[in-house]
Symmetry: C2
Subunit: 139 residues, 2 copies
DNA sequence: TAAATATATTGTAGTGATTACAAATCGAAA
DNA sequence: TTTCGATTTGTAATCACTACAATATATTTA
């Protein structure tokens, strides 16, 4: 996804593509690392020295509102963001802190008891020990 | 579950059953309403006038650590707690704020990509409009 | 082009849930 | 009853996030 496409994408979601917004969305697309506000700010401030953290907060809130980005609340203390809007789950390693994506068969989840409930958001979070950290511990 | 059973349960989980701990756990078992710290405090302070909010925090953290209670992070700003340790999902209505339980076939979730990952916690959160609130809106 | 208007960005000062910590209190064992 | 360790309390601090007013930038209109 190049800058032109990002611009189109934002416009399609009724977001005026300012320079900062383009850069922040680009960061999310290029780094699928589920970053926090703080990380995004730190990674972009060198390239955009006038960037303020408030702008990062404002921009991400706007993206979430407009449905361009999803908010991940797998962390208790900090919000994370993901440009991948498809239905998928997140796994957070309790040891290294890394957040992994994994596919989810949403339809296979038996949601009895929720007849006539209108589902707008789904968050599937697992926590434990990732592959790599398990291997390290076994050594 | 009467007080005697609660006492046994806490002991089984290596939690010394003090009066406050018994009362807080009892509240969680009797009110399956996924309460916040604030709600638990407000509901119990009349009966236990010396109760402090810090104790509620300490106690719930202890319960979660010992695996007697699960922490629900479906809310962005406040933690909620659930004495039901079985695998199940939570639905939060965006309109009335109520949190519902629903059964989940965990085994049906296709978790490709997570081979050799050791899962210790699962959190399945849905958000949208509950049955009742939909009916109200349609009127 | 320049003025007028709207929008985006910034910086500072809050807010509110949670935690740290030290003092006070309680409870079991000797 | 005294002692010692665990529990509870209250206050102060922390920290992610938000409110808001001021400034800067972009867009529209004349």
């Amino acid at each position: 996804m190049d800058i032109k496409e990002i611009e189109k994408f934002l416009k399609f979601n009724q977001i005026k593509p300012s320079h900062h917004r383009l850069k922040i969305y680009e960061y999310l697309v290029k780094n699928k690392n589920h970053p926090t506000v703080d990380l995004i700010y730190k990674e972009l401030v060198d390239e955009i020295p006038t960037l303020s953290k408030t702008t990062v907060y404002n921009t991400l809130n706007l993206f979430v509102e407009k449905g361009a980005v999803q908010l991940i609340t797998i962390d208790e203390s900090e919000n994370r963001y993901d440009a991948d809007m498809s239905i998928h789950g997140h796994f957070k390693c309790k040891h290294c802190g890394k957040v992994y994506d994994f596919p989810v068969k949403f339809s296979a989840m038996d949601m009895g008891g929720l007849q006539n409930f209108q589902v707008e958001e789904n968050h599937i979070y697992l926590k434990g020990l990732c592959n790599e950290c398990q291997i390290k511990k076994e050594v």
